[in-house]
């Protein structure tokens, strides 16, 4: 059965600890921009925890909202790429083929979530920091776009494993770096086509919404709205 990878982000569980952010950097060879570049808005975080203030002292409220590539079914980033660098994989991922990318940056403008990042320079790691680089993930050179891949290298590894063992992939036998690290289990990754999977179950929750769903991008990431105490306690 074909897989359809998806994720659920439970805003009620998310604590804003940003373990996912570091996990992503470590897993995906995301270079550190450094102060100057960061100040110029070139810091790369494939997943970020957005923070929105509501109200003022003494009753301020904060909502955290992890935002990563929504892996849209109808992704605005795909049709606009003249070289098919951003295209749709058979398993429904929005893949960025670094080698095809000529760097028009059109996809980044088309993306309503601003989750695509551009390599303004060749990435650099002060030796021996480069020893940490994950050999399963390409290092992106200057002039090309990059973005969250749903840790496609992990997906691939698990699929090869399952293939070798002549069996179906089991739900939760692997997950993305961010979901794996998330202490409060706010991020759940899995196969939406597997009706028994946790992600499939949760994404049909009545708290479920899609980020900017009104744009019709059909994201494969579902956000579960924060609950309220009163609702919970009174049934």
């Amino acid at each position: 059965m074909a897989h359809k990878w998806g994720m659920v982000v439970d805003l009620d569980r998310c604590t804003g600890c940003e373990a996912c952010v570091v996990a992503c950097h470590a897993e995906n060879n995301i270079p550190t921009a450094g102060e100057d570049q960061a100040a110029r808005g070139r810091a790369k975080h494939w997943i970020r925890v957005e923070r929105y203030w509501e109200g003022d002292f003494p009753n301020p409220r904060v909502r955290f909202q992890p935002v990563l590539c929504q892996q849209c079914d109808e992704a605005p980033c795909e049709p606009v790429c003249p070289t098919y660098a951003s295209y749709h994989t058979p398993e429904g991922l929005n893949s960025q083929v670094y080698n095809r990318c000529i760097g028009t940056r059109f996809c980044a403008n088309a993306c309503p979530y601003n989750v695509r990042f551009f390599n303004f320079y060749n990435p650099e790691w002060d030796k021996p920091l480069q020893l940490q680089l994950n050999p399963d993930v390409s290092v992106r050179s200057v002039g090309i776009m990059e973005k969250c891949t749903f840790c496609v290298q992990r997906i691939k590894a698990a699929e090869i494993q399952a293939e070798a063992e002549k069996r179906e992939l089991k739900d939760g036998e692997f997950t993305t770096a961010c979901a794996q690290s998330c202490p409060s289990k706010a991020l759940i990754f899995g196969d939406l086509n597997d009706s028994t999977s946790e992600v499939a179950r949760l994404s049909s929750s009545n708290r479920g919404t899609k980020l900017l769903g009104e744009l019709g991008t059909k994201p494969n990431v579902t956000y579960l709205e924060r609950g309220t105490w009163d609702n919970a306690s009174h049934g």
Binding site: H25, L129, I155
Partner: protein, 745 residues
């Protein structure tokens, strides 16, 4: 495309990534192949132990083959070896159950840090000049041994001191034993945000001189006084796991979290209700709530008889703490106090927690005891418990008194291990002057920081992943937990593990010391200490010690079968009555409470050298690479301070400058600064960046325990420049900040 090509491809990309790093990465590209068609390499997973904070989480290290420049017998060369690629939580570990926080994951960069000290080095220039030269290990060790010998011979063995950050497990044993038999005073553990007050309070209230464990999965209602238990306090990962459960882990049963603090912490940001309380009055507020409960008989008074006995007037139902009276002192309205009292008692099992700032006042212990009393009044389901311990090893207490002692009479010789008081102790404690008076300082540090820059000799320790690691969880689990792990990777540099060096020194010193420390290497000592656990019911059930030893290594430690040690009757003691907090600086001259808080990224500042954490946007301000001061927008308007302006924060002790961040989450009469930046000398990534709030703290201490009252300083504010002077780098909104994004909905 064919599988064969794939393998070539993955090999290529592997080589490219590991060896070339970024250099002309584009040339290395296998053209036109989608990322998802690369075939991953083979990884081996090894257990290890996280040493970043005291929680002691279990790690799994993802190790893959690569080529690295290493030093072997003084020879530098390229060898193929296993390289640590990623740190994950160990799913079997009872504390973090497969999860890991940002700081823990970033600690991987300590191993590969470009500014690690790679050889033993000897000071050549003046102290602190940072001029060192490389020497070989044998000479270095001979030199230290010689000093130890002469010191002992001259009968002043007692003037050897060992200054370290609080450690856990057998390292504590080793160091303590070494000093004991050598004839020196016990080691000095120092870190700025120590938990002495809470341990003391828990000893008094619950009979455990330890940090509490909260099984939040059992709670329906949590009221938390100042503890950032989701961010940095106690055992954050374990508590976050519990938090997730209490939010959405139990269908139809979602607990409420009420956070009481004057500056919104990461935990406060997640609370259903956030209540600003006057700093240092948290205890009074707790008693106000207790008053209502007792007065209206909302809970059996007996429930808290024990812990309540420590509070003056508890038996009489806390007459002095009527909601109205408490409102005057705390600024929290009587109505809210009453409501909280009802909510706490009406909703299943509740829990009251305290930690962080409320304890860092001169009346910290009182606040703690008061909240403990409230806790036992409302906690029907024993959400609070204490992690069982193997043996009766009390957790090491960071003690300011000892540091005072160090300053009072400086020793002849000082061992320094990962403690950095020159950065993290208020200058008013005069540690710098003390160090200047010490003739001979030996540091085991892996990095040059403010303190180890003063050392005469540096014997660089292995990185954690290169060493035998062990730790004992003080809290965070219902099991007794001893984490253990062999080295995950071979050493990269010409370093040696501190424990082995100490054992070696013991042998060279000879005599009693050598006898007391018979082990050749640290792992032998570990084995001797841990193997006895085999007979106890726990995670490993094997026949022989060897099997136990192997199993413990593969499992990443040993943990007992589940069992919680419930609170025991409180220590008999004269009841404490409310004491209002003292502050350094008159309210007239210094109108603002000053809160230096543990940074989400850098902890107490010891992680400021990790680029991943420097570029991690602070979740509330989105600031990276910079330090800032949080100011209420109203205060900002009043003082003409705008987002990003350069602000001077002055206390009686001195002043620092930082960029202003206008935050609705802080009381108008308070300003807060994260700790961690402002290092004078701490690797290329942290040096000369931002300001250090600890440097303007007054040396006030908590009255009962004598630990540092780091939240008891008052300051004044002045705008000294515009955004161009204060480099505030925000992730939100690129160059210029957007302090008040509203969700477009």
């Amino acid at each position: 495309m064919e599988r064969r090509d794939f393998i070539k491809i993955s090999a290529l990309s592997g080589v490219m990534a590991t060896l070339e790093g970024c250099r002309n990465a584009e040339k290395q590209f296998i053209r036109f192949v989608p990322e998802e068609e690369l075939v991953p390499g083979i990884a081996t997973i090894k257990p290890s132990v996280c040493t970043v904070c005291s929680a002691g989480c279990g790690l799994l290290v993802r190790v893959m083959q690569g080529e690295a420049e290493v030093v072997r017998r003084g020879q530098q060369g390229l060898i193929k070896m296993g390289l640590a690629k990623k740190l994950e939580g160990n799913p079997q570990h009872p504390v973090n159950q497969g999860k890991l926080c940002a700081r823990g994951q970033a600690s991987l960069q300590m191993l590969y840090h470009p500014d690690r000290i790679t050889h033993p080095t000897k000071r050549t220039g003046a102290r602190g000049s940072g001029e060192f030269q490389t020497i070989n290990w044998d000479d270095a060790l001979k030199e230290v041994a010689a000093h130890l010998g002469t010191l002992q011979a001259s009968g002043s063995a007692h003037s050897l001191a060992f200054l370290s950050r609080p450690l856990s497990g057998q390292r504590v044993e080793l160091i303590s034993k070494f000093l004991k038999v050598y004839g020196a005073p016990p080691p000095i553990w120092y870190q700025p945000f120590d938990e002495a007050v809470l341990r003391q309070a828990n000893l008094l209230s619950f009979g455990h001189a330890a940090l509490p464990t909260f099984d939040l999965a059992r709670a329906d209602y949590a009221i938390c006084f100042g503890a950032d238990f989701l961010g940095t306090w106690n055992s954050p990962v374990a508590q976050s796991i519990g938090y997730g459960e209490m939010r959405q882990g139990r269908p139809g049963r979602r607990a409420k979290l009420v956070q009481i603090e004057a500056r919104m912490s990461q935990t406060g940001a997640n609370a259903d209700e956030w209540i600003a309380c006057r700093p240092g009055m948290e205890g009074v507020l707790a008693l106000g709530i207790a008053h209502v409960i007792l007065a209206e008989k909302l809970a059996p008074q007996a429930a808290a008889a024990r812990t309540g006995s420590l509070i003056a007037g508890w038996q009489e139902g806390l007459p002095g703490y009527t909601p109205e009276a408490v409102e005057k002192q705390t600024g929290v309205s009587a109505a809210v106090i009453k409501r909280l009292a009802h909510e706490l008692t009406q909703s299943g099992s509740a829990v009251a927690m305290i930690g962080g700032p409320p304890l860092a006042h001169t009346n910290g212990l009182f606040n703690a005891l008061a909240v403990n009393a409230l806790e036992s009044l409302v906690d029907k389901n024993s959400v609070l418990s204490f992690t069982p311990q193997v043996g009766d090893v009390a957790p090491v207490q960071a003690s300011l008194a000892a540091l005072h002692g160090l300053s009072a009479q400086p020793p002849q010789m000082l061992f320094l291990y990962e403690a950095n008081p020159l950065f993290s102790a208020p200058p008013a404690l005069h540690v710098r002057e003390a160090l200047a008076k010490i003739p001979y300082i030996v540091s085991f540090g892996s990095f040059i920081d403010e303190t180890s820059a003063q050392a005469d000799l540096i014997l660089p320790d292995h990185a954690a992943l290169e060493s035998w690691m062990d730790s004992v969880a003080e809290s965070g689990s219902s099991r007794a937990v001893v984490s253990l792990a062999p080295p995950a990777v071979l050493p990269l540099h010409d370093t040696r593990p501190m424990p082995d060096v100490l054992l070696g020194l013991g042998r060279q010193v000879g005599g009693e010391v050598a006898k007391a420390l018979p082990w050749a290497t640290y792992d032998a000592m570990l084995r001797a200490a841990l193997v006895p656990l085999r007979t106890r019911p726990g995670s490993i059930d094997v026949k022989t010690d060897d099997d136990f030893w192997d199993a413990a290594q593969t499992q990443g430690g040993w943990w007992s079968s589940p069992s919680i040690s419930p609170p025991v009757p409180a220590v008999k003691r004269a009841p404490l009555s409310a004491v209002s907090p003292q502050f350094a600086g008159a309210a007239a001259d210094f109108p603002f409470y000053f809160l230096p808080y543990v940074s989400q990224s850098f902890g107490d500042g010891s992680l400021a050298h990790l680029p991943w954490l420097q570029e991690l946007p602070d979740v509330l301000t989105s600031a990276m690479w910079s330090s800032w001061v949080e100011i209420n927008p109203k205060t900002g308007d009043r003082l003409g301070i705008k987002q990003g302006d350069l602000v001077e924060i002055a206390s009686e002790q001195g002043s620092v400058r930082a960029a202003a961040v206008l935050s609705p989450g802080i009381a108008p009469d308070m300003v807060a600064m994260p700790v961690g930046q402002g290092h004078e000398n701490f690797t290329r990534f942290a040096s000369g960046r931002g300001a250090n709030p600890l440097s303007i703290l007054a040396p006030l201490t908590e009255q009962e325990t004598g630990s540092l009252a780091w939240a008891a300083t008052r300051v004044k504010l002045a705008r000294t420049g515009g955004p161009e002077q204060a480099r505030l780098v925000l992730f939100a909104g690129g160059m210029s900040g957007f302090p008040h994004e509203e969700q477009p909905r």
